[in-house]
Symmetry: C2
Subunit: 206 residues, 2 copies
């Protein structure tokens, strides 16, 4: 943080996230964001089409990164291992800006409309992953299924990381959660949580 000199875009993003969290997303104006960042509204609109684009940038590298990493994963891996690889490759996008990511999640969690937008974004990422898996030769339904499960798992891993970042990196949370996903069908381990693999199921012990 100390010597980091934020550019205009970075300053606008920081100011916007602070205001969205303090005042609420709906109550914040572009004028306020610009003032807080020490910049003009005009500068804001050079970087973002509107308030919402601060949270959902059109030029996010995430989709391309996931597609490339899926394509580059070693060939003999099963589908969920391919996705573990791809999602872990994308993890630094979040980890490098953990503070902003956490602020962004808090804003979204407080606003149902933004939540819907976020779900749509995740669905689009699932489509990207499904496409990349088909390119690897996977049959369409299997690719769609693996991609949906990959994103479902990512959501859970991401929440765990947001809530307990000091315990693991996001990449580790992703791998653990995907491992846990693989065990959900196994009758013997079915209540094992990602973290308490040893302590089996309450319900079975009954």
């Amino acid at each position: 943080m100390s010597r980091w000199k934020p550019d205009a875009r970075g300053r606008l993003e920081k100011a916007a996230l602070e205001l969205y969290n303090h005042k609420g997303f709906d109550a914040t104006t572009v004028a306020e964001i610009a003032t807080r960042a020490g910049l003009t509204e005009r500068t804001f609109f050079r970087h973002f089409a509107d308030k919402r684009e601060v949270l959902f940038p059109g030029d996010s590298p995430l989709a391309a990164l996931l597609a490339d990493a899926t394509a580059a994963a070693p060939v003999p891996l099963p589908p969920l291992a391919v996705l573990a690889h791809a999602l872990a490759e994308a993890a630094p996008v979040f980890e490098e800006r953990a503070n902003l990511v956490r602020q962004r999640q808090a804003v979204i969690a407080a606003n149902p409309e933004l939540q819907e937008r976020e779900l749509a974004k995740l669905a689009a990422l699932a489509s990207t992953l499904a496409h990349a898996l088909r390119e690897r030769g996977l049959e369409a339904t299997t690719a769609a299924l693996a991609a949906e499960i990959g994103i479902a798992t990512f959501k859970v891993a991401f929440d765990r990381w947001i809530n307990a970042p000091e315990r693991h990196t996001l990449a580790q949370h992703i791998r653990e959660t995907l491992d846990a996903a693989g065990r959900l069908t196994a009758p013997d381990e079915h209540a094992a949580a990602p973290d308490d693999v040893g302590s089996t199921c309450q319900e079975r012990g009954a």
Copy 2:
């Protein structure tokens, strides 16, 4: 179909879905729906708060049905088998009105805003399932993960059923797709589509 006498609500729903599909959701007015159904706008608003509620009824029995079926599933089942059971129990809600369900999907597929709403509804169902799994004694993260994967799988199964309803019932698609999900981590079978591998699924949740 032959002797089914639609009530006002059913007639309004049918008229609305036809108009949404023919004219588009945004271009359809409540007045047109009422006219087509041979009823008044006033009657429409006795049944639905607005045009969108025809597609997303506030009183859908689905969440309660899933929660109850999750609670009632036999105790020693692994989490995904519990969800296979619950989702298959809910399948008749869709199967009994397959025609309307298919029309509804076409309307939603044509409209990004409605898609976001549908994703939000599915996310809410995932929360319902996660809660029901926790009530069964599952640890919170495992419950969340299983619920997300269950809904992800349901989405894929539902798409398959919508596109090829004559091949299987929705309940069968759900069981097959969940079985396929269980195989996604297996290196030897990773390109197997839900249909390519013999149907090992029937015995499981039966």
